[in-house]
Symmetry: C2
Subunit: 194 residues, 2 copies
């Protein structure tokens, strides 16, 4: 029992260190030896806890993909007003980013290095997420609560500035609430018909 806990946390530590290094130097430029050293092990010892370098990337990417997939699903079930839904999406991105800054960065920037089967799955999940947000935007335009903008351009402009939260969000300096309030104003008061 105590054993399995210890083991579980070590694996978590390794994944966290991996995310941190992948974020800092990029996946391809991070060596397994380097990663091992950062958790106080030799490279060969790592393989008692992980299966491969890429498997770590997979876990990081899929873990975050699931957070967004689950998040949007919950939003769609809980809210029906497009404005509210967009507000909740802003909150979702802030929460996920704040929850695990480095792993979100990896999720965003390093998915290219997933090998074909996993990359396909990943991109399918992302596409599905984007199309759900796109539907919200289209919905908002049709129902007249959003301005008459190009839905696709709006989608990417909207998601993009949320996807980059992890780049400048330093948890100590700005509260999640302040961040949310501002992003809501910046993003939505431009979309909302007055």
């Amino acid at each position: 029992m105590a054993n399995s806990v210890k083991k579980a946390t070590l694996k978590k530590d390794i994944l966290e260190a991996a995310a941190e290094l992948f974020k800092e130097k990029g996946y391809a430029a991070t060596s397994v030896r380097e990663l091992a050293q950062s958790v106080g092990l030799e490279a060969s010892s790592l393989y008692n806890h992980i299966q491969s370098k890429e498997q770590m990337l997979q876990e990081i990417c899929m873990g975050n993909a699931n957070k967004f997939t689950d998040g949007i699903e919950h939003i769609l079930k809980t809210y029906s007003n497009p404005i509210e839904q967009l507000e909740q999406i802003i909150k979702l991105h802030i929460d996920v980013a704040a929850d695990s800054l480095s792993s979100v960065t990896v999720f965003n920037d390093e998915w290219k290095h997933l090998s074909p089967p996993y990359q396909e799955t990943f991109l399918k999940m992302r596409k599905s997420y984007e199309s759900k947000v796109l539907d919200i935007i289209k919905n908002g335009i049709e129902s007249g609560v959003l301005r008459q903008v190009d839905p696709k351009i709006t989608l990417y402009s909207f998601l993009t500035s949320l996807r980059w939260i992890h780049y400048w969000f330093k948890p100590g300096r700005i509260s999640k609430e302040r961040l949310y309030d501002n992003l809501r104003i910046i993003q939505l008061d431009g979309l909302k018909k007055e």
Copy 2:
């Protein structure tokens, strides 16, 4: 004469191919042999035209950094109204992205792989660019033409959705003008006081 032209275009072709590959696979995951093959040469032959792999990255990054530095300088000299200045910044980012899609991507995503002296220079230029845009935003808030938002959050939200134009801008599908019109509405009508 004809010689120097030919030579110059080959070097340009190589840099373009490099930008394309760096964009597609990332700098670290792109091999010199692969790059050579993509321009129909052997790896060793490449070194008659380039000095090193990293030097190509430097040229790509610095080239684009200069475009933005020059662009913002010109905007500040030509326009005085913060709204107009922000509009021109949107135009600048669209123009640079449309001008060389892949090299802008590299400029955005692969600068990490610059070695210390160049990375420092690069980051200094970026910082300087950002602080100029920040001043415009602060200016706009103080003079009352922009909403009372957090300047830093606004800065990053604004620049971020512009920095990612290259991710979804496919020159054939949407015109620069349509893109500009929409981004101006999305971004500025949320900032402009009505």
